[in-house]
């Protein structure tokens, strides 16, 4: 059961998006999130929706999975959209008690909903098509300049990689221990809050014990291989930008130009 969560994000494949350099993907994702938050009229918004659709389709990940990630935040989207609906100024179109809906309110609601959905979809494209290790690797390289400021970029990235590496292991371990305690009649599915918390003790204690043992083993193994941090360390997988990456970067810049043009030539509605 918990294993599904662990594998839930990365979806292996060979699509164009899968093959892009993770650094570029990270930058483009941030860029598109910025675009969708600066665009202020329907032309620009429509253009970005088209871009999103194109990305989802080329990623080769079943659209069903994207719906699933949207479904997770559907409540937040609807809630903020409905709130914004009543926060418009101008001519009321509809009034009931203190609730008024204006054209501005409707526009607000649409923009907010699309922006949140866009944010989630762009980040989903990134996490679905990039393995967690590639992602932290990309982050480490992009943040490299910060090490001049004595930020321990390599150590932070290594900690993230190790943490990510052990998420599936811990989930698997949790599954195993839970199954073993259930086999001894532990009841984790019923009872009040206190009872449920108490029922977790037989799972948490063995989990802590084994995590500490694992951490100790890992530290020992790293030490035995003379690991000593970032100084002078080379990478096994050297990232090279390819033509494909150049094309993607151009597409990102072109999208920026379209967004700016839309904002310049069409009137602000939000």
């Amino acid at each position: 059961m918990t294993r599904d969560i662990a594998l839930g994000q990365y979806f292996p494949g060979k699509s164009v998006i899968h093959r892009l350099d993770p650094r570029l993907k990270l930058i483009l994702t941030v860029a598109f999130i910025v675009y969708i938050f600066v665009v202020h009229n329907f032309w620009g918004l429509g253009f970005l929706i088209l871009c999103t659709a194109a990305m989802l389709l080329t990623s080769g990940v079943p659209v069903r999975l994207y719906f699933k990630s949207i479904k997770g935040i559907l409540f937040i989207v609807l809630f903020t959209a409905v709130l914004n609906l009543f926060y418009g100024s101008g001519e009321p179109l509809w009034q009931w008690g203190f609730l008024t809906i204006t054209q501005q309110g409707i526009f607000n609601a649409i923009f907010i909903a699309v922006r949140i959905a866009g944010l989630v979809l762009f980040s989903s494209v990134l996490t679905f098509t990039t393995s967690p290790t590639d992602l932290t690797d990309a982050m480490e390289r992009l943040l490299k300049p910060l090490s001049k400021l004595h930020v321990k970029v390599h150590e932070i990235a290594m900690m993230m990689t190790i943490a990510l590496r052990f998420v599936p292991t811990l989930l698997e371990e949790t599954d195993k221990i839970m199954a073993a305690q259930k086999a001894r009649g532990a009841d984790m599915e019923s009872g009040g809050l206190m009872q449920r918390i108490k029922a977790l003790v037989p799972v948490l204690i063995p989990l802590f014990v084994s995590s500490f043992r694992r951490a100790y083993d890992l530290a020992m193994a790293m030490e035995c291989r003379c690991y000593h941090g970032g100084e002078g360390r080379t990478k096994m997988k050297v990232l090279h930008l390819t033509r494909l990456d150049a094309g993607a970067a151009l597409a990102g810049i072109a999208a920026l130009v379209v967004v700016i043009l839309c904002n310049v030539f069409f009137a602000r509605v939000f």
């Binding site: 294993r3 599904d4 594998l7 979806f11 292996p12 371990e173 195993k176 221990i177 199954a179 073993a180 305690q181 259930k182 086999a183 001894r184 009649g185 532990a186 009841d187 003790v201 037989p202 204690i205 063995p206 014990v209 084994s210």
Partner: protein, 288 residues
């Protein structure tokens, strides 16, 4: 007569509709009678652990039924805990599940969940500890202070204390030294003999299976390859080696001798082999 435990076309698919989809058990139908002592063998990933976890309702089959005393165990999902008390399950490396302050308290965890009276719980726990050969002075210690083999025995006692009708053990002897293995196997056999309960145990050691099991279930690629008495199964060395399994070494030796024309039968254990071979030696092996 309805068998104690029966599966009808049980199938288990992990992570369905994803690239990780895996058919771990495919349409398996077996019958297990009361008092059976069954060894389960099969190469790594053949679906043994998955199958046995379906037998006590830890995994719900994707399709098919598991019948306990003729009744579908998933008939009422709320009552599944009652099934787990009847079909006890000891996982691989069960020592990872210990959590209480003392060994005795940990063994009492199962019976306590059954809602038994306090004296009964303690009596059962002490009985179970005795069965697996844990000395009394260890019972008041913390489980984390025990040696690996002792932890293993404590964990097995935790399941035996529930007095299940069927006891399932997933590779109970994995990672133990030869002496620890022997102690463990003989305590399981004596448990089986004295209580008359049904036992299923998964093992990668053909020697162990040949020594203690009455019947053997052979799994291969999510299917049941063979299910018969230990002699029947291990006399088919060719078929077993095709699916990456071997017969016990002593069985191999004896079948080679048989092919060479010596008057010997298929044997499973060292003791039987010795009994057959000694008379063939000059002087009947008197000087041995």
């Amino acid at each position: 007569m309805t068998p104690l435990l029966e599966t009808k076309n049980v199938t288990c698919v992990y992570s369905p509709h994803t690239p990780f989809e895996k058919r771990a058990v495919d349409s398996v139908s077996i019958k297990i009678e009361k008092g059976d002592f069954i060894g389960v063998i099969g190469h790594t990933g053949s679906g043994k652990s998955t199958l046995i976890q379906m037998l006590n309702g830890l995994i719900r089959p994707t399709s098919g039924q598991v019948l306990l005393n003729g009744r579908d165990i998933w008939e009422n999902p709320k009552k599944i805990r009652a099934v787990r008390f009847k079909v006890g399950m000891v996982f691989q490396y069960p020592e990872d599940q210990l959590f209480e302050e003392t060994v005795l308290k940990d063994i009492m965890f199962g019976p306590r969940n059954m809602g038994l009276p306090d004296e009964e719980i303690e009596r059962r726990a002490r009985d179970a500890a005795h069965f697996v050969g844990l000395p009394d002075e260890l019972l008041e210690r913390s489980p984390f202070e025990l040696s690996g083999g002792e932890k293993r025995r404590a964990a097995i006692a935790g399941v035996i204390a529930m007095d299940p009708d069927v006891l399932i053990l997933d590779e109970p002897a994995a990672g133990l030294d030869p002496a620890g293995r022997d102690v463990l196997l003989s305590s399981i056999t004596s448990y089986h003999r004295t209580r008359g309960n049904t036992v299923l145990f998964v093992s990668h050691s053909m020697e162990d299976v040949a020594r203690v099991a009455d019947r053997v279930l052979v799994m291969n690629d999510a299917h049941v390859e063979m299910f018969g008495t230990t002699k029947e199964v291990f006399s088919q060395a060719g078929r077993l080696s095709q699916i990456g399994l071997q017969v016990p070494q002593i069985t191999q030796i004896m079948s080679i001798l048989k092919d060479e024309g010596y008057p010997v039968e298929t044997t499973l254990t060292l003791e039987e082999a010795v009994a057959q071979l000694l008379p063939l030696l000059p002087k009947g092996g008197d000087d041995l």
